[in-house]
């Protein structure tokens, strides 16, 4: 991964992104930039448009306009199934574990999109529970295990930019802790991560930068170092 060490490599650059579900206009001109190896969060209340931003990047919304550059390539007109091939791994909020597939089938389902992904052995090393339950039906796993599976599934593909939607939602603190450790490891590996997160305490120590969203717009960009100064602003927008 020679290009991974290039400083300031723009892995994801979104300009004036508008997204629509049928008649409803959800995103109103998003601008954001994620450099390689960064971990960036999208913060905001429910309905602020954070999940829709991730879905728009994957071309899973009804309609989208503006510009989404991935690795310097314009993808606004790219078909959905070509976007993953650019090295993007998507973990949906509802986890998207397939009930008609067992754990290992779930794990093997997404095609490899780049070389350098984790092998099955490495994944089972990282998530021993998945190994023990590899022949169980995917949706028979506990919520935490399903979340591990949803993460592990995209690590296998070699994707070097991960879009993670609410991965800690509804999980026990010990699992959340485990997920934080996983994210730190992935960051050390040089992966780029965009994290939609409700749990600010989980996200704050991990992230390099935060984008604060409200009503389908980005209202503030906050560096990790500015967190304490902007605490009040965060409280207002997040309502914590």
């Amino acid at each position: 991964m020679a290009d991974a060490i290039k400083p300031n490599y723009e892995q994801l650059k979104i300009t004036d992104l508008h997204a629509f579900y049928g008649e409803s206009h959800i995103l109103h001109g998003i601008d954001m930039l994620v450099r390689r190896g960064e971990l960036v969060t999208l913060l905001g209340r429910n309905g602020a448009g954070r999940s829709t931003t991730l879905k728009s990047i994957m071309n899973m919304v009804g309609n989208r306009t503006g510009s989404i550059m991935i690795n310097g390539r314009e993808t606004i007109t790219t078909q959905a199934h070509h976007i993953a091939r650019l090295g993007v791994g998507y973990c949906p909020e509802e986890r998207g574990i397939f009930s008609s597939l067992n754990v290992e089938e779930n794990l093997m389902l997404p095609p490899t999109v780049r070389s350098g992904g984790m092998s099955l052995d490495e994944i089972y090393d990282m998530f021993p529970n998945l190994y023990e339950r590899r022949f169980s039906q995917g949706t028979r796993l506990s919520g935490g295990e399903q979340q591990m599976l949803a993460m592990a599934r995209i690590l296998r593909t070699g994707a070097n930019m991960l879009l993670l939607d609410e991965i800690t939602e509804g999980l026990a603190p010990v699992i959340v802790q485990k997920l934080a450790e996983v994210l730190i490891k992935l960051k050390e590996k040089g992966l780029t991560i965009v994290l939609v997160e409700q749990n600010f305490r989980f996200a704050a120590p991990l992230a390099d930068r935060h984008y604060l969203m409200e009503h389908g717009q980005i209202v503030e960009e906050i560096q990790a170092s500015e967190l304490s100064q902007k605490q009040e602003l965060l409280n207002t927008y997040l309502g914590v």
């Binding site: 899973m60 949906p92 389902l109 997404p110 999109v113």
Partner: protein, 295 residues
Amino acid sequence: MSMIFGVPIAVLSGQLLLGLINGAFYALLSLGLAVIFGLLKIINFAHGAFYMLGALCTVVLFNTLGINYWVALFLAPLIVGTLGILIEYFLLRKIANEDHLYSLLLTFGVALVIQGVLTNIYGVSGMRYAIPEVFRGGVNLGFMFLPYYRAWVIVAALVVCFGTWFMIEKTKLGSYLRAGTENSKLMQAFGINVPLLVSLTYGFGVMLAAFAGVLAAPIYSVTPVMGGNILIIVFAVVVIGGMGSIVGSIFTGLAMGIIEGLTKVFYPEASSTVIFLVMVIVLLVRPAGLFGKEA
């Protein structure tokens, strides 16, 4: 002659065999419907027309080009399957995001057009197609006479049904299909070419129908309208088995054939109604069908 429940064994087993053969056709056809419904969420009203096309293709290939049964067994499903893929690509795909009623109407319309055009060309009187040489005659099993061709139909249908089940449940390609059935948007986000998968799946379902048509050509009367009657029963089979269930459609297809056959022995007047009676009962007791997942 020995009797069971006051019915000669030969009569009983003869009707059972006929039932099993009808059941084999129900199974093949409902299997195709199930595969298509699973991924495309389309109720394919053109299925009977594709079945008919398989049979008609076999007859026409023989009459015009002298192509024999064995070649037709592969060629006819291939031709009809390709037609299915074209219909999916040029018609069904355009309305994929609309309400499912549209695709239902569209496939119904396609069936009417195909049947109408072919009726115009070939008329509605049945065309004859000879049973292939190797399958002429039969064997006396002692309690009944088993024509070789009918035995072949049952074996071929079972093998194809099992092969389809195996492919869907046990292979990587099958895992794509199962996953696509559950959440095709996410599959797309993983980088799987879902539109291609949809085309191929529709083509495959259509091929199953055409394959059934080839099997039917030597034993049923081949006419452009032969698909209409059987399709109604096959829909009942699909409803009984549970929409989209692979195992359900195979099992229910065979079972309904046998139930129909038995009814012919014991109460012939009800034989054409019995499947619908079963359907009503199943819908009352298990609305999702015998093998369907409760929503």
